[in-house]
């Protein structure tokens, strides 16, 4: 049975596109047939993050407007032959597509793929409504910051209003060292506030920038911690909900002392 998952956040720049690309790669590496759709019409990025920008001929708007067939617009990944990208149009705007058209498009994609991932644009307007239109469920991406969490809360309400099931959460740009010294909201703080199930914690890491420079998502790299964080999100989504979270085990000197003194609960692989 295929499923469409929208990756959204409200606030811009928190990691929706990075998450879409890496989750796409991770799900494909598990053997699923996956398409990642860039719904950020006018500001496409997913092609660049996946290193496929030179192969674009047609885009999502061409398909919707009947200028090409769906198959012509789908771009196969360089490394995985079960991973495809449906790019956004760069020179149009979000209002040239309607939620009904998106719903139809997603329905067509679901005939071919196990997972349709939709990279939602920032904001709560037309681009958001289009992105959730065909979705079966939503993943909310946030960072451990006040503004991002506030917007995530707003988006959770809008996802519920769109009659999707309870969304799940990915906490991106997590820094254990800052958490250890009390300068970053921890997993428990964020979950207490947003009160939705967690499916991933992704560390803040320079590997993301290197991989964006190269156009090779980190999830390909078996040595990468960030890549591993994304691969675990994919496993949690596909029937292994108990996979432990990485980047959670405090490693610093003080946190070891703290744990030893019983001041902070040992948060191991749970």
């Amino acid at each position: 049975m295929s499923e469409c998952i929208v990756i959204t956040s409200g606030k811009g720049g928190v990691g929706k596109t990075t998450t879409s690309a890496n989750l796409g790669v991770s799900l494909a590496r598990l053997g699923h047939r996956v398409v990642v759709m860039d719904a950020d019409i006018g500001l496409r990025n997913l092609d660049v993050i996946m290193g496929l920008e030179n192969r674009i001929v047609y885009d999502l708007v061409h398909v919707i407007e009947g200028e090409c067939r769906l198959k012509q617009a789908l771009i196969r990944d360089k490394r995985l032959d079960n991973l495809y990208l449906l790019p956004a149009a760069q020179t149009r705007d979000k209002n040239c597509v309607t939620p009904d058209q998106m719903r139809d498009l997603v329905a067509q994609l679901k005939e071919e793929f196990d997972y349709v991932l939709v990279d939602c644009p920032a904001g709560i307007e037309q681009g958001f409504r289009n992105s959730v239109a065909g979705a079966d469920r939503a993943i909310i991406v946030t960072t451990p910051e006040v503004s991002a969490i506030r917007d995530a809360d707003r988006i959770i309400g809008l996802v519920e209003a769109a009659e999707l099931p309870e969304p799940t959460l990915v906490i991106n740009r997590f820094r254990q060292k800052m958490v250890d010294r009390g300068d970053m909201l921890d997993k428990a703080d964020i979950l207490e506030i947003l009160a939705i199930p967690l499916v991933g914690i992704v560390p803040d890491h320079e590997e993301i920038i290197v991989s964006a420079n190269r156009g090779i998502p980190v999830a390909y790299d078996d040595e990468s911690v960030v890549g591993e964080a994304y691969r675990r999100v994919a496993r949690r989504l596909t029937g292994e909900p108990e996979v432990p979270f990485i980047a959670e085990q405090p490693t610093g000197f003080w946190s070891n002392i703290k744990r030893w003194m019983g001041m902070s609960p040992a948060r191991g692989a749970v």
Binding site: E145, V146, I149, R150, D153, R154, V179, D180, R181, G182, D183, M184, L185, D186, D189, E192, I193, A195, W254, I257, K258, M263
Partner: protein
């Protein structure tokens, strides 16, 4: 001593500010009530209550709280003494 331990272990880091600000922000977002409207409501409620009980106006607390998604208006009204009521 306790203070020093807290400082060393960073339990007073900026994350506590983040958390308390967020909680306040989210309840205000959810009920769509500005701080000024809250103040106005508080003043009116105090006005009504003071018809029946003697209270320290300055001490009255009024806040929106959120727990696991549920929002409640929590108020703490220190009463000095009950005024003599007719009947």
């Amino acid at each position: 001593m306790h203070q020093i331990i807290r400082r060393i272990f960073g339990t007073q880091g900026s994350k506590n500010d983040a958390k308390s600000r967020l909680k306040l922000l989210l309840v205000h977002d959810a009920v769509d009530l500005t701080p000024a409207e809250m103040e106005a409501m508080k003043a009116e409620v105090i006005e009504v209550m003071s018809k029946y009980i003697a209270l320290d106006r300055g001490e009255v607390e009024f806040k929106l709280e959120r727990n696991e998604g549920e929002i409640a208006l929590v108020s703490n009204v220190p009463v000095r003494r009950v005024t003599a009521r007719a009947g």
